[in-house]
Symmetry: C2
Subunit: 235 residues, 2 copies
C-alpha cells in the first residue's frame, strides 16, 4: 500500500472502562479495582473502574473489549452491558492525551457473588459517589453511570437485570427502591410492571417468611419498555 501520511498523526491512548453495578446487602454497589502500586503507574494504589487498553490483536470491537474486562474481573460472561459514553482529553491521564470508552453493566446478585479478581472489591454507591477517591476522571464517569441508571429506571424496567433468574414482585420492587433510593407505591408498581410486559409469571411459587409468592422471570424479548409516567412516592 502507498504511504498514508495522516496515519503518522500521534494517536491518543485508547482505553475501555466498565462501571459494574450489582445489588449486594440491600444496597447499590459498584466494582472497583486497585491500581498497581508501582511508581511507574499513574495513581498507584488508588481505586479505579475496571478497564484498560484496547487489545488490537484480541478485541474484535469495543463491546467485546468491555465484555472481556468484565469477565476478567468477575467471571460473568453475558450480563446487561450498555455503552455509557466516552471521555477524552489531554489532561485526564498523566501519560498523555487519552480517550476512554465507558460501558456500564448490571449484574444479578448471585453472579456478583462469584469469584472476584484479587485486586477487585465491591463498594457501596452513596448518592452518586463512592467512598474512596477514584483515579483519573473515574468519579465523573461513575456519576454519569449512576445518573443514567437512575434516569432509565424512571421509564424502563432495567433493574430487572439486577435480579436472579426468578424473583417475586416485592423483590423486584425492593430493587427498584434501592436503585431509585425512594419508596414506591405497591399497587402502581404492580400495574406498571405488568403493563410493561417485560416479565412473565412462572408456574412455581416461592415460600416466603409468611406466605408463598408468585415467581416471575424476565421475558426473552429484552426490548427496554417505556412507561407512560414516572411514579411518585406515597405520602
Amino acid at each position: 500500500m502507498p504511504e498514508k501520511p495522516e496515519l503518522d498523526f500521534p494517536r491518543p491512548l485508547t482505553t475501555v472502562d466498565v462501571v459494574i453495578f450489582a445489588i449486594r446487602s440491600d444496597a447499590l454497589q459498584v466494582l472497583l479495582v486497585q491500581r498497581p502500586r508501582a511508581e511507574t503507574e499513574p495513581f498507584p494504589g488508588a481505586w479505579a473502574l475496571p478497564g484498560g487498553f484496547v487489545d488490537i490483536a484480541g478485541d474484535r470491537d469495543l463491546e467485546a473489549c468491555a465484555a472481556r474486562k468484565l469477565k476478567d474481573k468477575t467471571g460473568v460472561v453475558s450480563p446487561y452491558l450498555e455503552q455509557l459514553g466516552s471521555w477524552g482529553s489531554a489532561t485526564r491521564d498523566p501519560r498523555g492525551w487519552s480517550a476512554t470508552h465507558a460501558y456500564f453493566a448490571l449484574l444479578p446478585e448471585h453472579a456478583a457473588g462469584g469469584t472476584l479478581a484479587a485486586d477487585a472489591q465491591w463498594f457501596a454507591v452513596e448518592g452518586e459517589k463512592v467512598r474512596p477517591k477514584l483515579a483519573f476522571d473515574h468519579a465523573e464517569i461513575l456519576q454519569a453511570a449512576v445518573q443514567r441508571l437512575r434516569s432509565k429506571v424512571e421509564y424502563t424496567s432495567l433493574p430487572a437485570y439486577l435480579m436472579p433468574p426468578e424473583f417475586t414482585l416485592p423483590e423486584l420492587q425492593r430493587t427498584f427502591e434501592i436503585v431509585l433510593d425512594r419508596p414506591l407505591e405497591k399497587s402502581a408498581f404492580r400495574t406498571r410492571m405488568l403493563a410493561a410486559d417485560l416479565i412473565e409469571p412462572v408456574a412455581r411459587m416461592r415460600r416466603g417468611p409468611n406466605r408463598p409468592a408468585q415467581l416471575y422471570r424476565l421475558k426473552k424479548a429484552r426490548a427496554p419498555v417505556f412507561f407512560a409516567r414516572t411514579f411518585n412516592p406515597p405520602g
Copy 2:
C-alpha cells in the same frame, strides 16, 4: 520518567465524527462531506460524516474536537452538540483498528444556510438513511443519530434547537412533525410545549398569511425538559 511498557501497545486510530442535522426545505437534512478521490485514501470519492482524527496538539478534549470539525464545515460556533456514542472495531476502517467518537449537532435553518466547506453538502434524511452509500460504518452511525433524535423528541423539546431565535408555535410544531415524520395534535402540542417551560413568549407578533401569531424564543435555561406522555396523531 521510567519506562512504561504498556504504552508501547499499538494504539487504535482515534477519530471524531459529527452528525449535523438541520431542517431545510421542510425536511430533515444531514450534512455530508465527500472523501478525497486520492487512491491512497479509504473510500475515495464516497460521502461520509464530517470528522477526522483527533488533533492531540490542538484539541483540548473530544467535545472541542467535535466543535472544531463542525465549525470547519459550517462556520457555526455554538450549536446544540451532544455525544452520541462510539464505534470501534478492527474492521470498520481498512487502515486498521479504529474507534470513532460520534456526536450529533442540531443547527437552526438560518445557520445551516451559511457558507459551507467546498466538499460539504446537505442531504435529506429518508427514513433513517440517506441516498448515497456512506463510507466506513457511517450509515450505522447516522441511523443511531436519527433514532436518538426521534426518541428524544418524544419526551424532550430538543427540536427547539432547530428553530431560528424567534418562532411561532405552529412553526415549532411543524418542526416536530418533520422530525417525527407524523402529524401532531395542535391543542395537546401547545399544552405540552407551554408546560415544558422551555420557551417563552416574546412581546412582538409575526404577521402570517392569515393572522398575526405569537412569537416565542428558547429560554436561557437549556435543561432538556421531559414530558409525561407521548402525543398521538388525530384521527
